[in-house]
Structures are given as structure tokens and as C-alpha cells.
């Protein structure tokens, strides 16, 4: 009799206990919104911010950038260059399991790197230096590069590790090929080792994640969030309304014009931090003459004095105050503050000086200025078109009559690579956190090998040579010297007109303690609640 009663009571008691334990967890659901959804769950198909944000929750990379933007261990616990300077060795975390229970091993790393290097992959650009990946033992891999590459780990922060067996079973050994037609299994399904498992994926509508209770990082990270629900909300006003009405807890991209209102609202806080993106203007200095200018037979931007005049015509503080409502950091250099090789002394914001700018223009032979078209996107960066409008007025003060041509990003960025724009806006982020990335894409002479975003026609043998050399230099002191020298050269040449570093703002309910991560990657495993 007693036994029966106990047998009946025990599960009940256990269930009560379980429900007590589960109660606070159940409450810890984060519902969040942003303008756009991840394009796919296939981690190597797209090299794009929102896609990486989602994959960072479900998959793990070998290393990642923590809240302080430092390289931190993830699936790799240690990494070093071996005696052979061309070979990196990664020690892998032991005892890690995928969401389906498969163990994580060196084979998966070899497989994932090879997958990401495949022609269909959009991540291959970050792995061009890797020629070979070999498994040493179950928890060690070595990567051979085509020369010493001191920065290899910097390129692996968004490189997610997939399960080889799962990929084989679901026929997703290769990233999706757009031409092939059909959707692959990995587009809406995922099997990572990450802190959350994918429960439901309706592209553009709703994505639900659930805490991975077996996550290796359970003791290391707060892991307070039990469930993550993501809904993309395109319209900015609706996104803000959803936070105000309490339907979402966290907004990744609150519009700048609503920040004051959100900060003033009860129960909502806005957290800010510097973003990994600098906004600047480029001038076509290589062409014989500008297409849109009223000056024929010569190119005003080829003259350094003209570029210097343009540079001091811009009142960056006014742009910050009036256009950005304080949400920007005026810049004197095309690189955000936290990257390697950034020098505060270089990032001096040029003081606006109309008289001196006019004198420089006169000296260069343009006492009455000239007319030119300024091409801008109108849906890519924060207040991009408004910045261009403001700058147009400032150029007008020194006699440079800029005609603003603001167009959607899909048109602006289709025109840009043709190298035919005279004066244009561009924003640049540095995912590798190293100056080399900036030099390689923005300053190197434009060839098949580099300078793919340098559409200014700027070409300096010294910059090209040092940029190539620094990528092979493993003596970090020497390398830093090279980086500083390139910065000095390009700053002296006034290749670009930096405007500002963008700021990131995250809006959330005030019981959430979640500082801004400068890559704009919310790692929900790091989110904490205020008690």
C-alpha cells in the first residue's frame, strides 16, 4: 500500500521539481527582430552579416571575437605557428558533440575547411592562402598556407564547422550551387555544435532556436537564454512599435531617428558602441579626365592639393551633430579604432578650413572650383543620402559644385566596380581586424589579385610592395612597422576622404544586460539578465 503510494507520488514530486527548475528558464525567451533575415542556414553559402549572426548561434567556429573584439578560443582551444612558418596547428576541444549526438573530431574540421574552399562557397575568399588541411590526430589539425600567414586565425572567425557524417547523409557535401536549381537540405536545416539548436526555420517569417543543454560552453558562458525567437521586421517604424508594445525584447537595428524616443521609453534601454565600419568618399584620381566634371583635358582629383582641399572642406563634427544626431565618431582614417595597426595619431579629424581649402584649389589652378557628380547609395549605410547632402553643401562652400546622385544600393554597387564614378561614397568594415585587409582591398593597385574595391585609380608601388610583404612577415614588430608606413603613405596622399566611424545601437528591454559587439553579432549565449 505504502509502496504504491510512493510509486505514485515519486514521479509527481519529480515533475514538480522539474517544473520549478524549468519555470525561470521558460521565462527566458528572447524574441528579437531586425530588418533582414539570414539568407540561408548553409554556413558556407553566404558571406553576409545577418546570415553569420544566425549561424553563430547554431554552429561554432574554431575561434571567435568576444565582446572586447579579442580572438577567443571556441572549437579550437589553442593555435600556433609550427616550426615550419607555413604551417599552423590547431588543438581542438575534446568531448564536443553535435546537436544530433555525433562527436566532433578533426575530420569535421578538415571537411569543413575543404567545403568552404569549394568553388560554390562564398567563404573561399578568406581561405585563399590555405593550400592543405591535414588531420594530425583526432583533436589536432594542421593547415598549410602558400607562404607564412601570420593572420590565418583572423580569417576563421566566421568559418563554421559542420558535421561530416550529417553532411554526407543529407547530400550537402558541397555548398549550394545557384545554377543547379533545387534547394539543398542545409538551407533550412542545421546540425552544429553551437549553443542553440535550430527548432523551426521559416525563412523571412520566423526562426526558433532552443538552448543546447549539452553545450560544451555551459560553464564558460552565461547561457541564460533558453529560447531564441527571431522575426524579421522590414519596416523600421513597425520594429520600434514592436519593442515599445513589448512584442519583442531586443532590436538589432533601431533606426537612428527613434533612439531618443526609445531611450526615453519606460523599460527600454539603448546600448551603443563603435561599429566595425568607416564611411568615406573616394575620388577617381587615376583617370585622365573626370566623366562628370566641367573641367576637360585634366583631372582635378589627380592633384593632391585638390584632394587635400576637399578633405578640409568637410565639417565632420557638423555631420555628426546634424545628420547623425551624435551617433557617429568623426574619422580621419579609413579604419575602425579596434583593428591591428590603427594609430590614434593617424585618426586625427581634419579641422574644417574653408579659406585654406580655397587657397589650395586656387594654387592647383581651380580658383573658381569645378563641378562634379557625387554618387551615393540611399539604402545601405545609416543616413547615407543625408550625409551626402550635407557634404555637397560643404563642397559648395569652397566652390566645388557637387551634384548629388543618390540611388539604391543595388544600382550604386553595380556601378562602383566599373571604376567610372568620379566621387562616390563607400563604407568599409574589417572582418579580419587587421590593417592588411584595408590595404589589400582599398589601397592596392587594382588587379586580379588585389585592390578589388580600389576604384580610385590610386596606385603606389610602395603600398603594393609593403602590403604583399606584410602578409608574409611573421616577425610582428617588423610587420607593425610596415603597416605604419603604409598608413603614413596613404594618409599623406589623401587617397580617401574619411567621414566617420559608424556607431552601433542595440535597443532592448531594461532587464537584459547585453553590451554591443562591434561586429554586430549578438551572441545570445553571452546575454545576461539583470537580477
Amino acid at each position: 500500500m505504502n509502496k504504491t503510494r510512493l510509486a505514485l507520488a515519486l514521479p509527481f514530486a519529480l515533475a514538480t521539481l522539474a517544473s520549478v527548475a524549468a519555470a525561470p528558464a521558460a521565462a527566458q525567451t528572447v524574441r528579437w527582430a531586425a530588418a533582414g533575415d539570414a539568407l540561408t542556414m548553409d554556413p558556407h553559402s553566404q558571406n553576409e552579416g545577418p546570415t553569420h549572426v544566425m549561424n553563430h548561434q547554431v554552429y561554432d567556429s574554431l575561434v571567435f571575437r568576444d565582446q572586447a573584439m579579442k580572438l577567443a578560443p571556441r572549437l579550437a582551444t589553442a593555435w600556433k605557428i609550427t616550426e615550419d612558418p607555413n604551417v599552423w596547428e590547431f588543438k581542438l576541444r575534446e568531448g564536443v558533440k553535435y546537436h544530433n549526438g555525433n562527436p566532433f573530431t578533426a575530420d569535421d574540421v578538415v571537411f569543413s575547411i575543404q567545403r568552404a574552399k569549394h568553388e560554390n562557397s562564398d567563404m573561399k575568399g578568406l581561405l585563399t592562402s590555405v593550400v592543405e588541411v591535414v588531420k594530425v590526430d583526432e583533436h589536432t589539425v594542421r593547415m598549410r598556407t602558400d607562404g607564412p600567414n601570420p593572420l590565418l586565425p583572423n580569417n576563421l572567425t566566421n568559418l563554421f564547422i559542420m558535421d561530416r557524417e550529417w553532411s554526407e547523409a543529407n547530400k550537402v557535401m558541397l555548398p549550394q550551387n545557384y545554377k543547379a536549381g533545387d534547394e539543398t537540405f542545409a538551407v533550412r536545416n542545421a546540425n552544429g555544435t553551437g549553443p542553440f539548436r535550430l527548432v523551426k526555420r521559416e525563412p523571412d517569417v520566423r526562426t526558433e532556436l532552443e538552448r543546447n543543454e549539452d553545450y560544451w560552453g555551459k560553464g564558460t558562458y552565461p547561457m541564460e537564454v533558453a529560447k531564441v525567437v527571431f522575426t524579421p521586421v522590414r519596416s523600421a517604424a513597425t520594429r520600434v512599435a514592436a519593442l515599445l508594445s513589448g512584442e519583442v525584447d531586443f532590436l538589432l537595428d533601431p533606426p537612428v531617428q527613434d533612439l531618443e524616443r526609445l531611450s526615453a521609453a519606460k523599460g527600454i534601454v539603448v546600448r551603443s558602441g563603435p561599429e566595425n565600419r568607416t564611411i568615406f568618399l573616394g575620388m577617381n584620381q587615376g583617370a585622365a579626365e573626370l566623366r562628370s566634371a566641367d573641367v576637360k583635358g585634366r583631372n582635378p582629383f589627380a592633384d593632391k592639393r585638390v584632394r587635400a582641399a576637399m578633405n578640409i572642406a568637410i565639417n565632420r563634427d557638423a555631420v555628426k551633430r546634424v545628420v547623425m544626431r551624435g551617433q557617429s565618431v568623426p574619422a580621419g582614417i579609413v579604419a575602425p579604432p579596434f583593428i591591428d595597426g590603427y594609430d590614434k595619431a593617424m585618426d586625427v579629424v581634419p579641422a574644417p578650413d574653408v579659406a585654406r581649402a580655397k587657397a589650395l584649389l586656387a594654387e592647383a589652378g581651380y580658383p573658381n572650383g569645378f563641378a562634379v557628380t557625387l554618387s551615393c547609395p540611399n539604402d545601405r549605410y545609416v543616413n547615407d543620402e543625408a550625409i551626402c547632402q550635407a557634404v555637397t553643401g560643404m563642397f559648395g562652400q569652397i566652390g566645388v559644385k557637387a551634384r548629388l546622385d543618390a540611388r539604391p544600393k543595388s544600382i550604386h554597387f553595380a556601378e562602383l566596380p566599373k571604376g567610372e564614378l568620379d566621387l562616390y561614397m563607400l563604407g568599409w568594415g574589417v572582418p579580419t581586424m587587421d590593417s592588411h585587409y584595408v590595404f589589400h582591398y582599398l589601397y592596392e593597385t587594382r588587379t586580379d589579385k588585389g585592390g578589388s574595391w580600389n576604384v580610385t585609380g590610386y596606385s603606389s608601388a610602395k603600398v603594393d610592395e609593403l602590403t604583399k610583404a606584410m602578409n608574409r612577415e611573421i616577425d610582428l614588430g617588423k610587420r607593425a612597422g610596415m603597416v605604419a608606413e603604409v598608413w603614413k603613405t596613404v594618409q599623406d596622399d589623401v587617397v580617401y576622404l574619411p567621414i566617420h566611424h559608424q556607431m552601433l545601437n542595440w535597443a532592448m528591454k531594461d532587464d537584459i544586460d547585453f553590451p554591443v559587439q562591434s561586429e554586430n553579432y549578438p551572441y545570445f549565449k553571452l546575454l545576461k539578465y539583470r537580477k
Partner: protein, 327 residues
């Protein structure tokens, strides 16, 4: 009758081909999808290779022909943005748009006719004046503003209705519906009002004007003289004769609320085809845009066909003429 329907369907093929041709002519001006499909590290050569493999370098007529040939086989390609077959994506999104459009359309029709009749019959009543003045708001305020206003009042301030989304949906296999759950119904209220308000006021004003016109005609006077009840005169004779223009307008409007629910869907993050289209435009997702525009053309053609058929039902003269000629 079958010959008539067949002729109209053949015409519709022509309409759809024209729409596809015009859209392909325009696509080249909205930008380059390749830039959205690769990361910033991709080299020029890689970009060129992708452009080539997608056939974006081919002349417009070639791209158009390829689209038509594939579409004729039911093959609409893969979305550049979502990496999924376009037909699947549209089939997934269509129920949301159709539910929203039909509910707001029929709601607007029912209420519009009722209010139109009421204001015509009680021309000088204070309620009629109030309704007429209020209806000005419906015609003059732009859709997105009405949407934002509703969100502000009912979601942010009163916290009664959800600000965005479709709520919980029930998957019937071939159709997803939000009509069977409370959250689904609550989510439907504001978008349906936003989308239907303009049509409601339009129909109401039209019905009122037509009613007033008809009530002045001789046969209404004779009907009254015959001693018929007000009810028979108003609804049997007057209303019936006002319906022809109302049907035409409603048909056109239903087409346009399905096709142009874009703004409402964007404001409320309603996961329908309109939202899909606007996102596709921004990404230059050509396969989705092409399929959407052709689908919309089809919807317009079908609705117009239904409207023409309704004329036969409402207007006995058409039937008489047809049969007369047939004899």
C-alpha cells in the same frame, strides 16, 4: 459562353507575355544581383563567373525567351536571395496575401454597400453626415499612415493587437491559415482595416451616388405609384440597378488589393507575396520578381473574367441579347 471564356483565357496568355517582356526590359535598370550574392572579398573574376553562370550577361530577349520556355514547363528558377525554388516560395506566401485581400475586400464590399445605401436613403440624417465626413479620411490618408496610426493606438498604447506578423497559423498541407487561431485572427484585424479602408469608402461613395441617381428615375416613381413597399423599391429595384458599376469597380479593386497589398504587408510585416516582392526588388532577385509580376497579371485577368461573367447574372438585358442573337 464557353467560346467567350476560351477567348478571354487566350487573351490572358498574351497579357502575361507582355507583362513578362516589359518586366525583363526593366530588370536591367534595377541593378546587379551578383553584388548582393557574394561577400565583399569576392574577386572581379569570381563575380564575372557568377554573372555568366546566371546568364545575366545575355541580351534581354535571350533572358526573356529562357524565362518563357522555363515558365511554360512550370519552372521559375531559384530565388537568388533565398536559394529556394521560386514556385515553392510563392506557394508558401500566397495564402497569407489571399486571406488578407479577400477578407478586407469582402468586408469593404459588404460594409460599403450597406453604408452607401444607408447614406443615400437618409441623406440628411446626422449619422449620414458623420459617415460621409469620416469617409473623407479613408480616401485621403495614405495607407502606410493609417497602418502606423493603428499600430500606435492599438499595439503600442492599448496593447490590444499585435503590431506585426500573422500570428499562429494552422498548416492544412496545401494552405496555411491564420483564421483558426485567436492570435491569427487578432493579427488580421489591423492589416485588413488598413488595406480595406480605401476600398470601403470608395464603394460606399459610389453606391450612394448611384443610388441617388437611380432614386430620381421615372421607374422608381412608377414603382412607388404602384404602391410597392419601400423595401421592395429600395432593394429590389434601386439597389439592383446600382450594382453594375459597383461590380466593375470592386473587381478591379480586388485585383489591386491582392497585387498592391505591398505597402500594408510591409508595414505589418505580413508574410505574403507583396512583402516577398518588395524584398526581392531590393535584392534584385530577378526570378522572384518575374514570377510575381506574371502571377499578378494572371490574377487580374481571372478577376476581370469573373466580373464579366457576373454582368450576365446581374443584368438580364445581356442574357436576352445573347440568347436573342443565338436564335
Amino acid at each position: 459562353m464557353p467560346a467567350f471564356i476560351l477567348r478571354r483565357l487566350l487573351q490572358s496568355v498574351l497579357v502575361m507575355l507582355t507583362v513578362a517582356l516589359v518586366s525583363f526590359g526593366l530588370f536591367r535598370f534595377i541593378g546587379d544581383p551578383v553584388n548582393n550574392m557574394v561577400g565583399q572579398e569576392a574577386t572581379m573574376a569570381e563575380r564575372a563567373a557568377l554573372r555568366e553562370s546566371l546568364g545575366l550577361d545575355d541580351p534581354v530577349p535571350v533572358q526573356f525567351l529562357r524565362f518563357v520556355v522555363n515558365a511554360a514547363q512550370g519552372e521559375f528558377g531559384v530565388s537568388y536571395r533565398m536559394a529556394r525554388p521560386v514556385a515553392d516560395v510563392i506557394a508558401e506566401r500566397l495564402p497569407a496575401t489571399l486571406e488578407l485581400a479577400l477578407i478586407s475586400g469582402f468586408g469593404a464590399l459588404a460594409l460599403g454597400i450597406a453604408l452607401g445605401v444607408y447614406t443615400a436613403l437618409r441623406r440628411d440624417g446626422w449619422l449620414s453626415h458623420a459617415i460621409m465626413s469620416l469617409s473623407l479620411v479613408g480616401v485621403s490618408l495614405p495607407t502606410f499612415l493609417i497602418g502606423i496610426l493603428l499600430i500606435y493606438v492599438f499595439a503600442v498604447e492599448l496593447k490590444l493587437l499585435p503590431a506585426f506578423g500573422r500570428g499562429e497559423v494552422v498548416d492544412l498541407g496545401w494552405w496555411t491559415t491564420g483564421l483558426l487561431t485567436t492570435s491569427g485572427l487578432k493579427s488580421l484585424v489591423m492589416p485588413a482595416i488598413t488595406l480595406g479602408l480605401y476600398q470601403l469608402t470608395l464603394i460606399m461613395r459610389l453606391v450612394r451616388a448611384e443610388m441617388l441617381e437611380v432614386l430620381r428615375t421615372d421607374y422608381i416613381k412608377f414603382a412607388r405609384a404602384r404602391g410597392l413597399t419601400d423595401r421592395t423599391v429600395h432593394f429590389g429595384h434601386a439597389l439592383r440597378n446600382t450594382l453594375l458599376p459597383v461590380i466593375t469597380i470592386t473587381g478591379l479593386q480586388i485585383g489591386s488589393i491582392i497585387a498592391f497589398a505591398i505597402i500594408t504587408e510591409t508595414v505589418f510585416q505580413w508574410p505574403g507575396v507583396g512583402l516577398l516582392f518588395i524584398t526581392a526588388v531590393q535584392f534584385v532577385d530577378i526570378p522572384v520578381m518575374a514570377a510575381y509580376l506574371v502571377l499578378i497579371a494572371l490574377i487580374f485577368v481571372v478577376i476581370n473574367l469573373i466580373v464579366d461573367l457576373l454582368y450576365f447574372v446581374v443584368d438580364p438585358r445581356l442574357r436576352v441579347q445573347r440568347t436573342g442573337r443565338g436564335q
